[in-house]
Every structure is written in C-alpha cells, then in structure tokens.
C-alpha cells in the first residue's frame, strides 16, 4: 500500500533537501528509499515468498527495518557536513573543560557537604549520555508538523505517528552520542577520572532504570507537546518542559544540592525519576531494598502517564485542523 505515495514523496525529496529540519527529511527519505538507489537494509518483502512469516512478526521486522533506515539516513545526512562534526566535538570538549573548572572553583570553597568533585563530574558526564537518548523535542516536531500540515501526511503513512517521532529523535541521538557524549566520556575518563558504576549489579539496574526513565520522559514530553493541537503554536512548548525538568528533575544541578523543601516537592513528582534516579543508582546512592522501591515508583508512573497520554491523544486526533498545508 505504501507504493501509492512513494512516487510523490520521491519527487518532493529533492526540493526538501537542505531546506527542512533533519528529522523531517529523514522520514521522507525512508519512504523514498525503495525507489532511489540508496539501499542500506534489505527490505522485508524479500523474505516473504520464501518463509511464511506470521503477520505480527512480519510487522515487527518491518518496523525494525524502517527504524534502521531512518537512523542510517540521519547519520548519512549529518556526515555530509564534516566541519560541523568537528565543531560539535570541539565545543563539547570545551564545555567539559569549562564545567570542570566551574566545579573545581565551587568545591574550592570547601562547603561541599557530603559529596565530592569526582562524584559531581561523574553525574554530569553520565547525565549527558542519558539526556541525549531520553530528552526529545517532540513538542517542536509535533508543532511544526501541525503548522505546516505535514501531520496529515504523517498520519496516513504505514507506520504510526509516534513511531516516526521516536525514530526521528533516535537518529538525532546517535549523532549526538558520536559527536558529543562519547568524546566527553572518553576525555573525562582519561583526564578527570570519573567513577565507574559501584557494582555490576548496580550497573544492570542502572540500565533498566534509565530505560524506564526514558519512557517517563517521553510520556511527559508527549503530554506537554499535545498542547500544540489546541494552541496552534509550538515554539515555547519545549520551554515549559525543560523548565520543569531543570527545577524538579536535576538536569542542571544534582538534587542533593537542593534545600530540603524543594527536594521534598521533587520527590513526589515524576520528573526526577526520568534522569536523576537512574544516576543515583549508578553512583550507589540508592541501594538494597530502595532499588526495588525506585523501580516500582517508575513503573507506577509509567502506567499513570501512559493512561493520561492515551486519553489526551484520543482527544487530540480529533482536534487536528490542517491550515491548508
């Protein structure tokens, strides 16, 4: 069925090149892919005649296939601007140096309380990696899709809108990992000496908790982003989200530096569960039975946020007004 609009998308691709945000181009690319001479992954129908794959599995493989194509296209596209890769790496390392100097100056006052410089730097370096994968700017994507009318095209594609959003933001994440967090991690480990996870078990829990945290982040992001359907404007949606995560989620300052009252407010909200809690597990600040409690809290919030998200989405779909895009 996708063949119907393949041609159309293919025609648009040439115009779109260079004029639109990366994530959006990626989506067009992946559909145009089978017609163009840009084969990266073998396409599923190849197997179809040989084995009779169950439909469900077929769909999943198909989704995985599309996911890989979207990500590899994103990377290819980014890799054409080599100076920008260089600029990103240089500025990432520059920022690491500046941040290290800042915290050295702060710790030089001798009022650190119960934490160390190394622990704080580890917090920021690992936070950086987590943020690349969990923080998404779905608000801007959804908003611009609504305003340009592209959302009508996105909604009739043979994959769900949410899948397109997620793949798009992961293709950005791969790029940012390669040009930002990975160089930072390497340089920080060699020159600053960041802490390894406290134990193998803690590391496994950390990964699990980080994935759950990522899901929490995406649900919060989606819920906030849906306001675009009602407001018809979107550039400021991300501001609200970032502000909430800065204040309650510890993305700018570890929560252990907060005054008691603010810490208490943060602990009943879901924002700290997205990034701060996994890091506490990594650093060994949460251990033993508390780990189970933390994971439980994350699971409860996921269920809660998921139901809110589904509810609003069911309403939002009926709200779409395409402004002649």
């Amino acid at each position: 069925m996708s063949g119907i609009f393949l041609q159309e998308v293919d025609d648009m691709t040439e115009e779109a090149l260079g004029t639109e945000p990366v994530a959006f181009q990626v989506n067009k690319f992946c559909l145009a892919d089978q017609n163009a001479d840009l084969h990266i992954m073998p396409y599923m129908p190849l197997f179809e005649g040989v084995f009779k794959l169950p439909t469900q599995l077929n769909l999943m493989l198909n989704a995985l296939n599309l996911y890989c194509i979207i990500i590899s296209k994103g990377i290819q596209q980014f890799a054409t601007y080599r100076t920008n890769i260089f600029a990103r790496i240089v500025s990432a390392l520059f920022m690491l140096g500046a941040r290290y100097a800042l915290w050295i100056a702060l710790f030089a006052t001798g009022n650190a309380g119960g934490t160390t410089l190394t622990e704080t730097m580890t917090y920021f370096v690992i936070m950086d990696i987590l943020m690349v994968w969990t923080t998404s700017n779905l608000g801007e994507r959804i908003g611009s899709d609504i305003q340009s009318g592209d959302i009508s095209l996105a909604l009739i594609r043979p994959m769900t809108y949410h899948f397109q959003l997620l793949s798009g933001s992961h293709s950005g994440a791969v790029i940012h990992t390669l040009t930002g967090s990975l160089p930072i991690l390497i340089v920080a480990s060699v020159f600053i000496g960041i802490l390894p996870p406290v134990s193998t078990g803690a590391f496994a829990v950390f990964i699990l908790s980080a994935v759950l945290g990522g899901i929490i982040y995406i649900f919060i992001d989606l819920i906030i982003s849906y306001t675009a359907f009602w407001l018809m404007d979107y550039w400021y949606i991300g501001w609200y989200k970032r502000a909430l995560f800065t204040l309650f989620g510890g993305t700018a300052l570890p929560l252990w530096f907060y005054p008691e009252w603010l810490r208490n407010i943060s602990s009943v909200l879901p924002f700290q569960l997205a990034l701060f809690t996994p890091l506490e597990v990594y650093l060994g600040r949460i251990y033993g039975a508390d780990i189970l409690f933390t994971l439980g809290m994350q699971a409860i919030w996921i269920v809660l946020l998921f139901s809110i998200e589904r509810f609003i989405w069911s309403r939002a779909q009926n709200k779409i007004v395409v402004q002649g895009g």
């Binding site: 520059f94 920022m95 800042l102």
Partner: protein, 265 residues
C-alpha cells in the same frame, strides 16, 4: 533618517502582528519567564550551597547574570531570527528581496526578522536587576548608573555582532555554520566569573568570543572587584570592543554581499 523611520515602522507592525494572537504571545512570554526564572533560581542555589564562587556572593552573581541576560536579549531581539534564517535566505530568495527594497538590505533584514518575544527577557531581567541591587544595598553615583547603562548597550552590541559574525558563513554554506554551533554552546559558560577557568578558556572568552566584556569585566567597576589576573584596564574596554565588533561585522557583510550569488528563486 528615512531608512530609520522605515525600520521603526516595520518593527512596530511586527509587534502589532504578534498581539493579534494574544494567547500565543502571552503563553510564550510566560514560558520564558518560567524557564529563565528557574535558571536563575538554579544558579542562586548552586552558589548559595557553596557560599560563594571565586569571591562572588550569590546576589552578585545574580546581578551579573541579569546584566548578561539583558544584553543578550536586547542584542538577540534584532539578530536571533535573522541568524536562524541565514542557511535559507539565499535559497528561498529573502536576500534577493532585501536587495530590491528602498532601504539598505541589511537594515531591511534586521527589521523584518525582529523577534518580539525577547520582551519577556527584558521584563524578567529588570526585575532581577532591581532585586539584586536592593539585596546588595548598592548606592552608586550618577556616573556609575550611566556606566551600567553603557555596559548594557555595549553588551547588546557585542552579543548581536558576535551572533552575526559566527552565523554569517551559513549564508554561503547554506547549512548550519560550525562557528555558530560553537557560539551557542559555549556562550552560557560566560555567566560565571570567567577567571575561574584555565588561561586558555579565559583567553577564548576575552579575545575570540569576547563575552567577558558583556558582563564580567565591566561589572567589576560597579561592584568594586578586581580579578587580579587581567590588567585593570580590561574593565573599561567594553565600548572599544563593541565598536571594533561593529566594524568586523560590517566587513563580513560587505564581503558576503560582494560574493553573493542568488539561487535564482
């Protein structure tokens, strides 16, 4: 003079156009108040936890941050949208349009891309300035108040010019400019007393991306500080840096205009 009047008229109409959608305009302003307000709270908490940073008290840092943000907002209100559009203006024909208008093309671009949203930063920073000035129990002479005004103007010019210089290559390359990436990512580290950084970074913030002259250096005059690293004279150099940068920006624009080839759109 005529160009200037046209400029003001365009900006006036941009404001009127934004107010046509008051809901969206006000949500945007509130979003930025919350966002920057929280950044300020975080900055305050960070310094407050440790007592001071390089001899600067929490409210001194907030005062410096307010000047830093106000200068950025005033400068960026003129240049932010323009810089964002640089990769596209040659492709979609905006630049061709500017060349055919009866006012200088650069002025035309500045006016039509004026960002009205920065009014939120201005209101927020004026409140922050007032609070920190009261908290610090400051009593300045008229000349010192004038100096504050002057550094805000110079800071805006420095911010605007640096943004333009760093992002201008995008007109030619038609993609995000590498210097622009560097500019946007490292700028926020100049909200602290920059002498805490190693000499190499201090050098960058003084001579290459001269954000030190936006707030840190000139504010030492007002708060009676001396960093003991840079010569005393540095405190007074902001106006000179601003004038120099205007010159460099003009040269860059001249060069790009001479080399400009329309995409034929």
């Amino acid at each position: 003079m005529h160009s200037f009047r046209v400029f003001l008229t365009i900006v006036k109409h941009l404001f009127r156009a934004r107010f046509e959608y008051p809901g969206s305009f006000i949500s945007g302003i509130i979003a930025q108040w919350i966002s920057y307000g929280i950044s300020m709270v975080m900055l305050f908490l960070m310094i407050w936890n440790f007592g001071s940073l390089a001899g600067w008290m929490p409210f001194e840092i907030i005062f410096m941050y307010a000047v830093w943000l106000l200068s950025y907002a005033l400068g960026a209100s003129f240049t932010f949208n323009l810089c964002l559009s640089f990769p596209q203006i040659a492709i979609n024909g905006t630049l061709d349009e500017a060349y055919t208008r009866p006012i200088p093309p650069f002025l035309y671009l500045l006016a039509t891309t004026y960002n009205t949203g920065y009014i939120s930063h201005v209101i927020l920073t004026i409140i922050a300035l007032a609070v920190s000035i009261i908290q610090l129990g400051i009593s300045w002479t008229a000349l010192q108040w004038l100096w504050l005004l002057l550094i805000i103007v110079c800071g805006s010019v420095i911010n605007a010019c640096m943004m333009l210089i760093c992002d201008m290559p995008a007109i030619r390359t038609r993609s995000e400019s590498p210097t622009g990436i560097f500019f946007w990512q490292v700028r926020e580290f100049t909200q602290y007393p920059i002498t805490i950084y190693p000499r190499a970074i201090l050098f960058v913030f003084t001579a290459i991306l001269p954000f030190g002259f936006v707030s840190f250096y000139p504010i030492q005059v007002l708060l009676g500080k001396a960093d003991g690293i840079m010569p005393q004279l540095t405190m007074w150099l902001s106006p000179v840096v601003a004038v120099l940068l205007v010159g460099v920006t003009m040269l860059c624009w001249k060069y790009l205009s001479r080399e400009y080839e329309s995409a034929g759109t």
